[in-house]
Structures are given as C-alpha cells and as structure tokens.
Symmetry: C2
C-alpha cells in the first residue's frame, strides 16, 4: 500500500484508515506519557539546585503536576485497551537524549528550560489534538501547566533577570538553544513515527508535513512572544 | 538557666517551658518538611534508573506523595505563624549530607534505600509525635507512606531478590548501611537541635536521651522484622 494514497484513492480502505488513526493515537498518547514522566523526574532533579527553599517549590510543584499528567495519559491508554509501557517504549530513547542534550548547568538554566520547553510541548500537543476524536482531545487538554504555575515561573525568571542583568544574554542564548532543540524534537518525533500520517489519516505524507510546518511556525511565534515578555530576544 | 532543671525545679517557669515546647515543634516540623522535600527530589531522581517503565512508577508515586507531605508540613508551619523556609534551613545541610552518603549505585539500591529509610523516618516521627499536642500529632500522622505504596515496594523487592539470588548478600549489606546511617541521623538531629529537650519539656536532657535510646531500639527491632520479610538478615 502506497503511503501517498490520497483521500479519493479507493486503495486505502476505511478499515486501514481507522487502524492508522488508532496507531497514531496510541503513539501520541505514549509519547506524551513518556514526555511527562521524564519531565517529572528532570524537574524534580533540577529543583534541588535552587538557591532558596521557597524558589525550589516552583519546579517541585511543576514536577508533581507532570506526574499527574503522566498518570492521566496512562489511564487513557488503559481505557482504550493499550499497555502504557508498550506505548511509551518507542519514545524513551529519544526523550532521554533530548534531556541529555539540554541538561541545565545551573538553577537559572533549569528555570528557563522549564519555561521554554513546557510551553512549546503543550502547544504542540494542543495543535495536534484539535483534529482528534473528543475523548482523546479531552485527555490531552488536561495535560496543561496551570496558569498559576506558569505565572510563578514567569515571576521568578523576571525577578532573577532584574537582579542580575548580566544573565540576560546568557539566558537569551540558552533559550535559543532550548527552542531549537524542542522544535527539532517535534519534527523528529513527527518524522519517525506515525504522527505525520496520523495528523490526516486520509491525507498524504506531504499534506501532513505541510501541517507540521504550520504548527512549527506558530510555536516559534509564540516562543518569541514569551521571550519578549521576559525582556529577552528570541 | 540550667538545662538539667528537673520537673520539680521552680527555676523553669511555665513560660519558658512553653517557649521551649514551641521551639521544639517548629524544629520538628521544619526537619520533617525538609526531609520530605528532599526525599521527593531524591526518589524522583532515583526513579529514572528503573530498568522498566512500570517499575519506575513505584518510586515516582512515592516521590509525589512525599511532596504532598512537604506541603502539609509547610501548611502546618504557616498555620502556627512560622516561616517554613526558616524552620527548614537548619536541617538542609544535614539532610543533604545524609543523601550524599547514601547515594544508591543502582536501581536495586534505590528501592532498598526507599524501603529502609522511609519506614525508619516515619516510625521516628510517629514515636516522637505521640507526646505532642493534638494538632501537631494529626499533622505528623498524615505524613505516612500509604500501605498500598509500601506493598508495591515490598513486592518489587521480593520479585527482584527472587529473580537474582546473588542480590541478597549485597542488598543485606546495603540495608545495614542504610539503617546505620538512618539511626545515626536520628541521633544527630536529636543531639544538635532542641529535639532531646523538647521530647520532655519539663524533663532533663538525660531523661530525653534515655527516651531517644528507647525509640532507637524499637526502630532497630522493626527494621530487623522488615528485613526478615524480604528474607534478608538485618
């Protein structure tokens, strides 16, 4: 079966489309689940390097929320009869490698990583989810950092930058590295697994790739806006 | 004022006793709070080294529960008008040093550390709490690993030991190191801060030290029982 079969092409049966869609959903939920589990562990580890106990709670709270997201993704996978462990396995190496490449050198970089990567990840999920069936959509919509937590993180970063203006250029650079890595990750996951095809189960790989390009440019714009909010150039 | 003033000695006023007791409670809550925050971060970090994704959740779940305990200790400190950060600060170095000395080399040691240290810590708190005012008692009673989590941890350790019998001697040795470090820690905290005196606000330091000795021997007995449950010698 050619993967470039168009919507009008009868060679792709409804059954095949449906199987393709199901695989896509499992892949998506599995990648989110592992991403959240991994974010939980990394944020909790990073929290340890906080200079003050009060600040430490900002990443700690985020980490705990990520664990909740991981559990709700597992629950959704179980609900559709899939083993979460099997669904997560294909993403383990890729996500771990991402965290190795983006290991923060200090507390400042930990906060900035959380700020940049969480937002991009969640926007990516949200952008993909809007084409999906309602239960999947709802499950993915629940995987969001609370506004309260985001506000606390933003406030902390602003305070940090105000107290030490020399941080600005370093963190702007680090932010650029983070966004580069995050967008590369998004595209890699898209290319390696069934994401591209799954985005439009009845479409061609080219159509799906074009859609990913649109998503990536929206993610980039929003990232620039968030960096401006901190007074940094993206 | 002599610290060895006996209960019958009028030189210790009721006001002094009450201030001593309050300090003790703040010290106790502060040390628990920091211990829990720290356990959260260490367990989440250790969870990463799990050989399987399913097993990973055992330490992850425990870590998340510890964070909840940390938050409830902070809430209690706030309720009695104390700054959690100030209350925790005196314990930070001591607890961090404990974790440095007991850093697990692998997944097996992580599980065993969780099994030994969590239980001893909680029993220590419980033993101290039983002499305290009711709100403090209730706050401390809430800081317990759930039976479900403990059962999951025990099952995992048993499975691990059954699958690889050579682990037994290594983990028995590691367990002995953990209990030694944990009991030393208990005594150090007791000696360094107001714990000893606080245990019996109207008693002498000697009486309090005797009480700690009783607690430590109970902790040791219970630890031996838990090791036997795993088929290991304590």
């Amino acid at each position: 079966m050619s993967i470039s079969a168009s919507a009008a092409d009868d060679s792709v049966s409804a059954g095949e489309l449906s199987a393709r869609y199901d695989n896509f959903v499992v892949d998506l939920l599995g990648s989110i689940a592992y991403g959240e589990l991994s974010a939980f562990e990394r944020l909790a580890t990073d929290a340890r390097h906080s200079p003050s106990l009060a600040d430490r709670a900002v990443l700690g709270k985020m980490a705990v929320a990520e664990y909740g997201h991981y559990e709700s993704m597992c629950a959704r996978l179980n609900a559709i009869g899939m083993d979460p462990e099997l669904a997560m396995a294909p993403y383990q190496r890729m996500v771990d490698a991402f965290h190795e490449r983006t290991r923060p050198a200090d507390w400042h970089e930990s906060l900035m990583k959380a700020y940049v990567v969480e937002a991009i990840t969640e926007e990516f999920y949200a952008a993909i989810a809007k084409n999906l069936d309602e239960p999947t959509q709802l499950a993915i919509a629940a995987v969001r950092t609370s506004d309260e937590q985001l506000a606390a993180l933003t406030a902390l970063l602003k305070k940090m930058l105000a107290e030490d203006p020399r941080l600005s250029s370093r963190l702007a650079l680090w932010g650029r590295r983070m966004v580069g890595e995050a967008l590369t990750q998004v595209q890699r996951i898209g290319a390696k697994h069934s994401f591209l095809v799954g985005l439009r189960p009845d479409g061609t790989q080219e159509q799906a790739a074009a859609e990913v390009a649109v998503i990536v440019s929206a993610l980039t714009r929003n990232h620039s806006r968030r960096m401006s909010q901190l007074g940094l150039t993206a």
